[in-house]
Symmetry: C2
Subunit: 156 residues, 2 copies
């Protein structure tokens, strides 16, 4: 067998859990809604200094997502071209890792209050990283179906 015949697998651990009112639907105005990230006590020490950041990249494991889907019409809109999931931010993907930039409103011990998360109640949190604008790239090109920042409000 060559290395292309077999894929390695790894175990991702839940480091905390999303708590909010989004039971079966993400509200259109989720960007203005606060979610609570309850971090497991064993990981609390990994939060040291996190309150120095105004914005966080919250990585969740979208455990309700279909991992077998390889192509979608972005935003569920059939007028958008059929597109590979690696060329979209669709929640369906082989490893359903979602990343959302959220505002950190406050921290209370192992609880983080974040604004703008688009994840259901009880979704596993698997990583948190500080957001900095150092990662901003100028002059990016992307397909025409990608809405710009203004159009994007309310879309996911």
């Amino acid at each position: 067998m060559t290395s292309l015949d077999v894929g390695r697998t790894f175990k991702v651990k839940e480091i905390g859990t999303v708590k909010n009112d989004f039971k079966d639907e993400i509200p259109e105005d989720y960007r203005n809604k606060t979610s609570l990230l309850k971090i497991y006590p064993e990981f609390e020490e990994a939060l040291l200094g996190i309150e120095g950041n105004s914005h966080l990249a919250v990585l969740c494991w979208f455990d309700r997502s279909d991992r077998k889907v390889k192509r979608v019409h972005p935003f569920g809109d059939e007028s958008n071209p059929l597109t590979g999931v690696f060329a979209t931010r669709a929640p369906v993907r082989p490893n359903p890792i979602a990343e959302t930039i959220c505002e950190l409103e406050k921290r209370e011990e192992n609880e983080l209050y974040v604004k703008g998360l688009d994840a259901f109640d009880n979704t596993p949190v698997i990583d948190i990283k500080p957001y900095t604008s150092n990662y901003h790239v100028e002059g990016v090109k992307y397909p025409e179906w990608v809405p710009d920042k203004e159009e994007r409000r309310g879309k996911r």
Copy 2:
């Protein structure tokens, strides 16, 4: 047991592999170096349309990272304050998911040539997402130890 006593686990699958010359060290000028992402043929259809993007967020599983480390001095510099790994982008973290924004130079079937990846040869790729400046946030606050974009060149 309450929900805080136990964490769920999930299986992450390698969707491709990094190929480059970085055997034991990431070169200082990695931002100008090209790596090849060899995507497994079973996931090739998930790449449809990816070449319409100039930049990608490449998610790797840093399989050499120590998952038990909870706090670090950022950039290995002891003059930086001891900081929880969730408040840093250190490669050591409970789930060693690394995200790097790379320029997509070209695609050849299931092979993506990307510039700027800071991952060793043979690192598992676990997800790819298009980068868009839609995720850029203005007016971000972060700790003083975070270098600005100019200072950051060469730092990791």
